[in-house]
Assembly symmetry: D2
Homo-oligomer: 138 residues x 4
């Protein structure tokens, strides 16, 4: 099963045409991704601050299917697609009341916070991702 | 030739790891896209307010090649790839000092601001896009 | 007692110096204010969309006492200070683990969503504010 | 004379009620402040990165006088009010076509980027502020 999180679509996330402003959607997405890392025991303040691991995005393919409107309750579902040596492929589906609003495929890469160079995932994080991968596929 | 715009990468666009926060990149991108519409004589306040045409994004595929850092001067280049009946395919390249930082392919669709349904491009906008398409290809 | 809400301080709310970016604090504050209106039975989508009442801010005085850092859990407390004919004075205190990070005094005004002109609070909203005012003072 | 900067009020800075979203105003304000520091020879990437000086805001009092609407061209004017040992008091006036939209009084403090503790302004920055102070008053 995928990691899930709920976010109301707030006034400040919408634009003058009354629908979600897509850069705000992505700000929400990054927050959900951070919450996913909390859930697997790798909170970002520790991961980035002490372990010096950053997780920049290198690919992001988004399809917006249906406009989100102010007041919508957004259901984020995040699944693990593939765990590479230093990369991680995620899939996101964002629905409201069962209707798909948008979806995204995202590749992040583990980097050294100081040099910005790719580095392998540490064993504990890799194991957590793989457990999530298996449970995603069942 | 593509439409171009310059944007400094400001403090408020960067994250605790010291590089550009990607949702902020996309906020900048929307601003550049709005400036492109200014340049073809279709400023958004009039287009959306009076003509009731909105231009939501339906597809966005982004590749982040190199991290942008605070103080970088970003060169945005926007080209027209294809003009559909009610869609428009854009390509974006964002460089700093000639180095590619990120690129994106984007599809937007003309919709009725009130109903959010797709509608054809008006003739003047279509002509402007096509002129840009030709000049992009030369 | 004041209305309260909890918000983690996320990666995307922090700046390259590693502390909260204050415009992001204010984006969170607007979300908390919207949640307060939910709690008194005046959700903004209905209030703005159907009843045509907007609530712009006309005064905002903020004191930042202590920097918030990535990973802090923020406790927002919102109290009603004064209910005017068409204005509302709010006070906000944002703490982390009991330490005051920042506080704000805010005046909002009820306006007509279409004309942007001030208008009196409707009776139900005024009653809800006043109940909150009393309970805040006890 | 004050330092000035021009900013169009873009689609992405406005809210569903069609006017400027105030946290976006403040994001623009921080960018203007950064540009002011550029103008006095203290660009933030160098100031923060090499000299380890940060400039957090400790007080901000804002009055919103008139709503800004999508498409407005905003004229930011920034003046220096007072130069303290480690503090700096700024005043901001934001107008559109001569009409005051909002104004703010802001106190920032020089801190050590690593310890977040107050520190005195270096001589070159103090001198630049004071020159601006004088020229502001003339």
């Amino acid at each position: 099963m995928a990691f899930t999180a709920v976010r109301p679509l707030r006034f400040g996330d919408c634009d003058p045409s009354g629908i979600a402003y897509f850069p705000s959607y992505l700000h929400l997405l990054v927050g959900v991704m951070e919450e996913f890392f909390d859930s697997i025991g790798a909170p970002w303040p520790v991961m980035m601050g002490e372990r010096r691991i950053s997780v920049p995005t290198v690919r992001l393919d988004i399809t917006f299917s249906h406009p989100g409107v102010h007041g919508d309750v957004l259901d984020f579902a995040l699944g693990v697609r593939r765990v590479g040596k230093s990369s991680l492929d995620l899939i996101h589906r964002i629905t409201c009341g069962g209707t798909l609003l948008w979806s995204a495929e995202q590749r992040i890469v583990a980097t050294d916070t100081d040099t910005h160079r790719a580095r392998p995932w540490p064993d504990d994080m890799r194991a957590a991702f793989e457990q999530h991968l298996e449970s995603t596929n069942v």
